[in-house]
């Protein structure tokens, strides 16, 4: 009876597991596709879907149907016509040469015997499969070339490593560490993204801490009113301000500079940052401030000896939030930095529109841009969620 009850209980929970695990699977699938594709050689990416890495290579079935009956499943059954021998296969590496050989009679019999001669497409597939098993076009299932090409901004039709080995690289590549600074590459963009994101995270937090302390522990007229204004400012869309600021920057020569984008992000991060910090600093027990004052502390000491050390969790939440927000931003980078100092999102956006189908590069580039935020998120999820719950509205 007891086991039956437990079984029924388990059965009742089954639909929940089914739905939940199904949803998680669907949610993960697109990212898994990206990750796998980014490690596949370019020819494979364009020929087959990423899910085929779990199945036999392209042409396997055609080979089994047409060739295996005589040449064997491995292709090496006939010693005088060993399909795994590169020198032998070399003669039939093109589909028309192979097709001609298949159409020729062989010892007075049709080459293919009972089996009908395959059409051109199938022959081409078989030829490509033979090139693969004979080692003429040996290529591993996975490669790091896409990442190397994306990091260095390589745009040729082989790979960066192949071109450099042959000494055939384009004029703007050096084939050494300097290529990581190539303006077209993701390596340079990664550094630019860091140069944008770190100061744009620190500045608003610094200013917001001061303001939040004043809002929490100081008397001044219009405090409620000013704070309500901040709550309103928080939802102002960034688009509202792009045009006047880019005109202002054009006059000041700040377009395309890091300083310009730092200041802009600071301005836009502040309302949310102040609200979050004020909610935290304001909820600290007032007794500790009171006793500090009785001991003769000033506002300044109360601020940096009490309020700041006690708000480390809030500072962490805010820092992560602001950092990810800026790291992932495209619009502001597009408008104020553009191609002069391209960041990751800008670079990828450019690749999407100009490269079209270069999926091997695009997937690698996208993963380079996602790696850091994913790492930050997984390591510091706790703080991220807390920051989100405290603010819950962000422009």
């Amino acid at each position: 009876m007891k086991t039956l009850n437990r079984f029924l209980h388990w059965l009742k929970g089954l639909p929940i597991h089914f739905v939940l695990i199904g949803l998680c699977f669907i949610w993960l699938l697109p990212s898994i596709g990206l990750l796998i594709t980014s490690f596949r050689p370019v020819q494979d990416v364009n020929e087959t879907g990423w899910w085929t890495i779990f199945s036999k290579p392209k042409g396997y079935e055609e080979f089994q149907a047409n060739c295996a009956p005589c040449h064997g499943a491995e292709g090496d059954a006939i010693a005088s016509a060993d399909l795994t021998d590169p020198e032998f296969v070399q003669n039939y590496r093109r589909s028309f040469a192979l097709l001609a050989a298949l159409e020729k009679e062989f010892d007075g019999e049709p080459h293919m015997g009972e089996i009908s001669i395959p059409d051109e497409n199938t022959t081409a597939t078989i030829a490509s499969y033979m090139r693969r098993i004979s080692g003429i076009e040996a290529r591993s299932k996975f490669t790091l070339d896409n990442y190397i090409d994306a990091m260095t901004g390589y745009r040729g039709n082989k790979t960066y490593r192949a071109d450099c080995a042959a000494g055939a690289q384009s004029v703007d590549l050096f084939c050494d560490i300097r290529d990581l600074a190539n303006p077209r590459g993701m390596g340079r963009a990664f550094i630019n993204s860091l140069l944008v994101a770190i100061p744009s995270t620190i500045l608003p937090i610094l200013f917001a801490s001061f303001a939040a302390y004043a809002f929490s522990w100081m008397h001044f007229r219009g405090r409620q009113w000013l704070f309500a204004l901040l709550v309103g400012l928080q939802v102002i869309p960034l688009q509202m301000t792009l045009i006047p600021i880019s005109r202002l920057y054009a006059q000041l020569g700040l377009n395309g500079t890091f300083l310009g984008i730092w200041l802009f992000h600071t301005g836009f991060g502040l309302p949310y940052a102040i609200i979050l910090m004020r909610n935290f600093i304001g909820s600290l027990p007032h007794e500790i401030f009171e006793s500090a004052y009785l001991d003769g502390a000033s506002h300044w000491t109360a601020f940096y000896r009490l309020a700041i050390p006690l708000s480390v969790p809030a500072l962490a939440s805010l820092g992560i939030f602001q950092f990810l927000w800026i790291w992932n931003d495209l619009l502001v980078a597009l408008v104020f930095l553009g191609g002069e100092n391209p960041v990751l999102t800008y670079q990828i956006g450019n690749m999407v529109t100009s490269l079209g189908g270069g999926w091997h590069l695009l997937t690698a580039a996208a993963f380079i841009s996602m790696a850091l935020p994913m790492l930050v998120f997984l390591a510091l999820q706790r703080f991220f969620v807390r920051g989100m719950l405290a603010g819950s509205v962000k422009g």
Partner: protein, 307 residues
């Protein structure tokens, strides 16, 4: 909140402003001044040399100084953008909030709750651009035999014809909304899950003891208890969706009938060099957001009064 500040902490009148000034200056420069300037520009002509509408031709309908708004509110492309934004709001907000609530409730009942939540939440951490690449690949449309995009591979495996998801006007906006849903469901889930954890267990147990089934517990107890949070999430999502830009910019560039307001604004400003029109669109956008803003301020004031 004022009553909580100990009297001993009183200070000279100018001191608070020293703490506030850096933040206030930056915000005034980057939010308030440009906001007002945008309002002004929206009434100016293309090169900001005169008021808008002065060059109106006789016989054509003209809104005078509000000529830019004439464009922003009535042009064919903007009306298409409005319609699409409404589509975005209706579908994306309802699905993200509904799914978020569903996953929050389901995950609460299993032992792998934190892993499941992390998986759903993970897309939040990546950029719209990254998500755009991921999904453009999912939606890839191969003209030949081979489909390297997962969705079309499934469609052809089931015997159908491959679909050009991003250019087919009947489904492409929906295809973009799916990307938004994939990214934002985690946000709704996390906030709603936190609210659900706050529902007292005793109430739920009492209802179950009294014979309520799970369905009734959900509708009669959980939903009313977290209703304030649901409204907050909905407002936030509406604001987010109104501002949606990156997904459209990266995946279709607003072509094939997928235009949205924020993308149009970008195109008018930086492709067509029409700052007047772009500013008018920005003003229209803020007008649509103002109700949500007022709602937020009200909610804040209520919170303060119960503090």
């Amino acid at each position: 909140m004022s009553k909580n500040i100990p009297g001993i902490m009183r200070q000279k009148g100018y001191v608070p402003w020293l703490y506030l000034l850096p933040a206030l200056i930056v915000m005034a420069t980057f939010i308030i001044y440009p906001g007002l300037n945008t309002l002004y520009l929206s009434l100016r002509n293309t090169d900001n040399s005169a008021w808008a509408g002065l060059e109106c031709k006789a016989g054509e309908s003209c809104w005078g100084i509000f000529e830019n708004f004439h464009y922003a509110l009535t042009s064919t492309i903007m009306q298409a953008a409005f319609l699409n934004n409404i589509k975005w709001i209706l579908i994306m907000v309802s699905v993200t909030v509904g799914m978020g609530l569903l996953i929050a409730i389901l995950a609460d009942k299993v032992r792998y709750e934190s892993i499941a939540k992390s998986i759903i939440f993970l897309p939040m951490a990546i950029s719209f651009v990254g998500a755009g690449v991921i999904w453009k690949f999912m939606y890839n449309y191969g003209t030949g035999q081979v489909q390297i995009g997962l969705l079309n591979a499934i469609v052809t495996a089931l015997g159908g014809q491959p679909i050009s998801w991003l250019t087919e006007p009947r489904i492409n906006t929906l295809a973009l909304i799916v990307v938004g849903i994939w990214m934002w469901t985690g946000f709704c889930m996390t906030i709603l899950a936190a609210a659900l954890k706050g529902v007292p267990v005793e109430i739920l147990e009492a209802a179950r003891v009294d014979g309520a089934n799970e369905w009734m517990v959900f509708w009669k107890i959980m939903v009313p208890q977290v209703l304030p949070t649901i409204t907050v999430v909905i407002t936030t999502m509406v604001i987010n969706v109104l501002k949606i830009f990156d997904i459209v910019y990266v995946m279709t560039g607003g072509n094939y009938g997928t235009e949205v307001i924020a993308n149009r604004l970008y195109i008018e400003m930086y492709k067509n060099y029409q700052p007047g029109r772009a500013s008018a669109i920005a003003i229209v956008l803020i007008m649509m957001i103002i109700p949500a803003m007022i709602f937020n301020i009200r909610r804040f004031q209520e919170q303060e009064s119960t503090r």
